[in-house]
Subunit: 131 residues, 2 copies
Amino acid sequence: MTARRPTRQRAALTEMLAQIPEFVSAQDLHTRLAAAGSSVGLATVYRNLQALADDGEVDVLRTDTGEALYRACRSATHHHHVVCRVCGRTVEVEGPPGLNTWSQRVSDEHGFREVTHTLEVFGVCATHPVG
Amino acid sequence: MTARRPTRQRAALTEMLAQIPEFVSAQDLHTRLAAAGSSVGLATVYRNLQALADDGEVDVLRTDTGEALYRACRSATHHHHVVCRVCGRTVEVEGPPGLNTWSQRVSDEHGFREVTHTLEVFGVCATHPVG
DNA sequence: TTATGTGCAAAGGGTTTGCACTCCG
DNA sequence: CGGAGTGCAAACCCTTTGCACATAA
């Protein structure tokens, strides 16, 4: 475990992150910080987000375009998300019953160990008009 | 549905793809094609892979670094993967029962439409010694 | 002929890195 | 003071796009 040193930037970043309910991109976070008057270099945002992710203090999510989204962890328990692909609004949901059992079983069947899984749902939320 | 026209490049690409058991990146595919003497422009590789993905003829997968990996579909039905995080070896598996129903339900409950989902399992396959 | 496909090179977007500077300890 | 942290800009990487040329129908 690396000893992190407290800085204004890190504080601003984690504070901001704590106030944002949805997943946001690094760029987005950078913009919000600037708007809030506590400007932080973009590189620093990336570096800190990465550090926080390494320490398990933020959730990381990849959109289907490969962009990374971050959010301060809400619940400690394992959960999944329904993500709006237009605005990024995210709802936390429980996985389908038997998901863990299933992933364990299919892994066992093929000799895989140290198993994890990712399950995300993408859609368009109600605030957007039907195209 | 767009009518695709048969070309040497497309043929070379799908043929190559059919011979590769694992997921490969577009760049990798481009290199292999060149090595095999049937060079295809990188942009063309990307365009064709995208077209094939749209038509559901190849599986697309995002690594945790955001890179897209492609592989010729083995089975026509919707399926998921168990991916070795050491060597990339992949096994195709059926999703847990009720997955579609579940994703539809949780999306409906929160007003999301045009729903898709991603579910991948990551582990370490049997060919690697226990760490 | 003509719309679709291709190649090249340039542009794009997200992310990382080199380097000098700052600031905590 | 010494080293972790920061800012800036350039570099990177994967991917997309503009445009002129080639090609299947």
